[in-house]
């Protein structure tokens, strides 16, 4: 469905690129006011200049050392994520609306998590089927009856949004566990400021470099101890993790210790780190480690990455983990399909952000429909992430469809299906010039005792392959700098 009617954020339609004659985009109108400077710049930048900029950008990223690892690819332990030098633009008014929707949605998510691990009112009200929650593999029994400090569960959420028209935004995923990518949001801006300062002269872009400050405040606000400045650490699985660069980057920006499991120990239900000056008690752990590795005494006994006794200290209220344990259930794609109801139930308001229509294959009627229309749909595992294990019907050969149908019939409760959305495109620099490429947007939403905060914009991911809808970096997707534009020169 990524055909001629696809919405382009600069020109209104991808077909405008094809009709271009003369300067880059011919007579095509720029629909978004804020894109005019970008278009001007693209119109006046010859291909060799663009090529030089792209090389320069790559050099910057190499020098910074911002790399990630792709699992299962022995040659790619330190790979660069492709960076596109054409920024993606949102006008302030567009952003303000998104921001409201994000705050509403994250508030609802926090209330939902507090409820299903607490009084379970939403189940009593019959809004969600009980088995979907209580028998869900991602429902953490250990957390039942517990409330983390401040009642906040998902301190850092990375809500994935896609766009299909001028006012049509959809939430694709909530990423309430441990969303990554914020280092790219920050470094993309740094590189753009160095690479193309002349663009910032005309277009006034809302800054993103307050993120570390806001994150630090959020983490400090949920400290279990009020009597002193909290000791905060970032817990990483280590340098072999695909997001290790991001872990070290954030720890540095926040001025907190980057620790591995073995740097921590638990005594008397308190967590300490081993320092040259003896044990130092830790109050908040920003963990970039999945639940199941956190504590070998409670979860996976084979985990060498966690800290024995950590969950006991957590239960005793002596340490805060961000995000809270058990938030993974909110990432379940069958639960996701109930988000409109969840938002209404906890906020009493209509959801501002739309969900993508979703068929829950666990329901026989839906399964029948999905099997009949497999070639038109996107099918995902309910607990999948990173673009792994999903089927994109329109792009799949017949044999793959047949194999997937068999998988669906064998375990329907493990899958959901959605229509193939015509994701919006943005102008993107490619070897042959400028072309439309599909994008999504991941804003990072912070929840602390002092409320919900969002840095304007977020991470724009772009599918670098023509026509591709898969933006995940593990699948060859790239990133763009995202600009929320406040004002610009009239000329």
């Amino acid at each position: 469905m990524a055909g001629g009617d696809t919405y382009d954020e600069m020109l209104g339609s991808v077909s405008a690129y094809a009709n271009a004659a003369g300067p880059l985009f011919g007579n095509a109108e720029t629909i978004n006011h804020a894109y005019r400077w970008i278009r001007e710049w693209l119109d006046h930048s010859p291909p060799e200049v663009m090529a030089a900029r792209r090389r320069q950008a790559e050099l910057f990223f190499r020098r910074i050392g911002i790399t990630f690892a792709v699992y299962g690819d022995p040659d790619a332990t330190e790979r660069l994520i492709p960076f596109d030098i054409v920024p993606r633009i949102l006008e302030r008014a567009e952003w303000t609306k998104l921001e409201k929707g994000l705050v509403q949605r994250v508030n609802a998510l926090n209330a939902f998590l507090a409820d299903i691990y607490g009084k379970r009112e939403i189940l009593a009200a019959g809004i969600l089927p009980e088995p979907l929650v209580l028998q869900n593999a991602a429902y953490c029994l250990h957390m039942a009856g517990r409330q983390p400090p401040g009642g906040i569960w998902t301190h850092i959420a990375g809500i994935d949004l896609v766009r299909t028209g001028p006012d049509q935004f959809y939430v694709l995923e909530d990423n309430a566990r441990t969303p990554s990518g914020v280092s790219y949001m920050l470094e993309n801006r740094e590189v753009m400021l160095k690479l193309l300062p002349e663009l910032f002269e005309h277009v006034k872009v809302a800054p993103v470099d307050t993120y570390p400050e806001m994150l630090l405040e959020t983490l400090a606000s949920v400290s279990p101890r009020g009597d002193r400045a909290p000791v905060i650490v970032l817990l990483t699985p280590g340098r072999h993790n695909s997001a290790f660069y991001e872990h070290s980057f954030l720890a540095d920006k926040l001025g907190i210790e980057l620790v591995e499991g073995s740097d921590l120990f638990v005594r008397d239900d308190k967590v300490f780190m081993r320092t040259t000056e003896g044990p130092e008690q830790v109050d908040v752990i920003y963990r970039r480690l999945d639940d199941e590795y956190l504590d070998p005494l409670v979860f996976n006994p084979g985990s060498m990455l966690g800290v024995p006794g950590l969950m006991a200290a957590y239960a005793a209220g002596n340490v805060t983990l961000t995000n809270a344990v058990g938030t993974g259930i909110a990432d379940d794609k069958a639960i996701y399909s109930y988000m409109p109801e969840i938002v209404r139930f906890y906020t009493g308001e209509e959801p501002i952000l739309q969900n993508v229509p979703t068929w829950r294959c666990r329901e026989p009627e839906a399964l029948g429909y999905v099997l009949d229309h497999l070639a038109e749909l996107v099918v995902k595992e309910v607990d999948g992430s990173g673009g792994y294990g999903m089927l994109i019907g329109p792009h799949a050969p017949q044999a793959t469809l047949a194999a997937f149908a068999a998988k669906l019939k064998a375990a329907p409760e493990k899958f959901i299906a959605q229509p193939t959305l015509a994701l919006s495109t943005c102008p993107t620099a490619i070897d042959a010039g400028i072309a439309p490429r599909h994008v999504d947007l991941r804003p990072f939403v912070l929840s602390g005792r002092d409320g919900v905060k969002i840095v304007p914009g977020g991470l724009t991911r772009v599918a670098m392959t023509p026509g591709s809808l898969v933006v995940n970096s593990s699948q060859g997707g790239g990133t763009k700098d995202t600009w929320v534009v406040d004002d610009w020169d009239a000329e």
Partner: protein
């Protein structure tokens, strides 16, 4: 050592430091000026940059509007501005060349290489693109010279005079930078009017490359009085007034150890060092940050004069 040699080395240290500071200041100002006005993206960012280099008056004499193109050109390339980056590098290299034998070969080559690059610069900035590589070059050259000197020069008078110059200049630069923004740096407890000033404070930190250092020292969100504390009293960052005076005192002591003589420069340095050691940022705010900084700049100038007098420059 010849007085003339000492003077040349001392001024070489000062001019290199000034070039490096100016490069950082331009970068941080660009960033501030690029912000939307709703974030305090100050239209007067470039005025502040001029004020931080004490160039407001000499720029005004040119009758040009204060904007990025004009101010950046003035601070980098203008040959009639004796403190432009180009002038600084030229003066530093001329100083170094006339006392070539006092420098180790790698140290001399570092400064000569910088000068060769700078001499290829055009008379004026043609476009914004040129600026970034120029500023990168200056920062890199300053590090290269300092590194080469640290690694290869004899620990003797020549070495000490260069770094004495750097430290005196650095103290002056940091104090001026803070003084231009003193009205935005409020004492603890005073209301700070939202986060509008946040970007002004972080601009100060960025100018001295201390944004990340701030967090490691205070483990706290950016607070104006802590920004002042970091730049005035903290021993942990090399560009604070306290660190500069520790360095000045140490070097003057080493010079005295060699010559066996102490003089007014030693007394002034010790007094300045003591003033910074026996105070707290709360006391500084009580006295008034602006008054404190102004008097510091005056005293620092007196120290510069005393050094010149004592060593017969």
């Amino acid at each position: 050592m010849l007085s003339r040699t000492a003077s040349n080395l001392y001024w070489m240290g000062r001019y290199l430091e000034r070039a490096d500071f100016t490069a950082r200041l331009i970068e941080a100002t660009q960033r501030l000026a690029a912000l939307p006005s709703s974030y305090g993206g100050a239209t007067n960012a470039w005025e502040s940059a001029l004020a931080s280099t004490w160039m407001t008056q000499s720029f005004a004499e040119r009758g040009l509007p204060i904007n990025e193109a004009n101010v950046a050109d003035f601070l980098t390339l203008d040959t009639s501005n004796s403190s432009s980056i180009r002038s600084c590098i030229e003066t530093a290299r001329a100083n170094g060349r006339s006392v070539r034998t006092a420098l180790s070969a790698p140290a001399w080559e570092a400064i000569n290489t910088a000068w060769l690059e700078v001499s290829r610069w055009g008379p004026h900035l043609q476009n914004r693109d040129e600026l970034e590589p120029m500023l990168e070059l200056i920062k890199l050259s300053a590090s290269a010279f300092e590194g080469a000197a640290q690694r290869t020069m004899l620990r003797a008078n020549a070495f000490w005079f260069i770094f004495l110059g750097s430290a005196v200049e650095r103290a002056d630069n940091s104090a001026r930078l803070l003084d231009v923004k003193y009205h935005l740096l409020l004492p603890r407890g005073e209301s700070v009017g939202g986060s509008l000033d946040y970007f002004q404070w972080t601009t100060i930190l960025r100018t001295v490359s201390a944004m990340t250092a701030y967090r490691w020292v205070y483990r706290d969100s950016v607070k104006p009085w802590l920004v002042a504390d970091l730049l005035v009293l903290s021993r942990k960052i090399p560009r604070s007034l306290a660190s500069c005076y520790e360095e000045i005192r140490r070097i003057l002591d080493l010079l005295a150890a060699e010559s066996g003589k102490r003089g007014p420069a030693h007394r002034l340095a010790a007094a300045g060092h003591a003033r910074l050691s026996h105070t707290s940022i709360d006391k500084v705010f009580e006295e008034g940050l602006h008054e404190f900084l102004t008097s510091f700049i005056v005293e620092n100038n007196k120290l510069g004069d005393a050094i010149a007098k004592q060593y017969l420059f």
